[in-house]
Amino acid sequence: MSIINSELLRRYLPWGIAAFLIILTMADTVVIEPTINSLASSALQSSTVVGAFVVIISVLLISRIHVRRVSRKRTVIESSVLLISMWGTLVWGFFRLFGAGVGPTSDTTILNIFDMIVSPGDSTVFAILAFFIASAAYRAFRARNLDSAILLVVAILCMLAKAPIGETIFGLGIVKLTDFVLNVANTAGRRVFLMAMILATIALTIRIILGYERGWMGRATE
């Protein structure tokens, strides 16, 4: 029993595998060398398949939360709607996939569920945000200092230039000005963010390889 619960299997081996795979896939990107490339490509292929199973966790986590909420009578109607719609679609989908070999992309019931619930849901939830932007624009967007003044001016310019009415009212000048702002000021600002993102990834990678970053390992106590 001690081998299974040993520190090696619990901590050091997963960490070792992670460090090895990070270095392998980085080397594969940079170097053209048969053994590295073939080893890395099978690592990527198997990681894609393993990664497809990660959705098990979110399905079970969500189910546990909502079953508990139904049993404690907190949000009975909504939680049971979620559980029925999730497990109903899952069971029907798996029955068709493994039973009749009909994938979810060609099964009419799954396609109807997508058209009826998933598609309107996704677009309406984000459509609501446009109303929040409109109300915040009226009640909270204030040019209280130079920074927010620059921001609001550029936002208004983009809104005018990207909508046909801007050009009909203000002529070609507004489009030229906005093109200049987008291609110069916005490009410079966005470039700084792109670079900052990579600096953060470098720092995270080193902390994982050196073992300082254990967040991904889950419960630190074990």
Binding site: M26, I57, P104, I150, V184, A188, R191
Partner: protein
Amino acid sequence: MSALESLVVLGAAGMTLALLSYLWRENLFFRIAEHAYMGTAIAYGALLSADAALRILQPHLQKGEYIWLLTVVLGILYLFFFAKQYFFLYRYPTAIVMATGIGVSLARGVKTNLLDQARITTLVTDVSSALIAVGVICGIFYFYATMEPKGPLKAVSSVGRWFLMAAFGAQIGLHVMARTSLIIGRIRFLFFEPPANYMIPVAIIMLLIGIFMDYRKKQP
């Protein structure tokens, strides 16, 4: 338009109006629609992942390369996230998926998003590319964390902040256009796709009932 198809369109119109009712206030219809959306979206994603994994594994298993079953075993290990004693087994699939993801993204990101972006910034040929170079240099200096900017460097740092603010302004302007297109899509669906438009009067009546009940609740 078969009966099933019109049922699907009516259901979609009901979903759209129930979610839009959040604009009035958070209510039971909104919560039901939101929960139905969350449930089916996760299930749909899970089914597609399973279908894709099966599709990738099938040729290998038919050719007898049973080593590939190891990936299924590793995938099942994710379940140990919920285990008490053998929790650490969950770390093996996580290590593989996270490490390949970081390895692939870092090496390529350093070229495309760090070195190439710096290299392109140096291609100063006219006024605008010179301005871009100034903007990027000041912007990078703005995020310098271990040295207090004093004197002229304080100006460099604030110029960098202005360029960041311009980028945020462009983000808001384009975001307004993005979100407005979504409303346009939804309203077009409700207006012009029969029988979705039958749901509109139903929704208006329910809204009026809601307003009336709210008004009565406010009265002492």
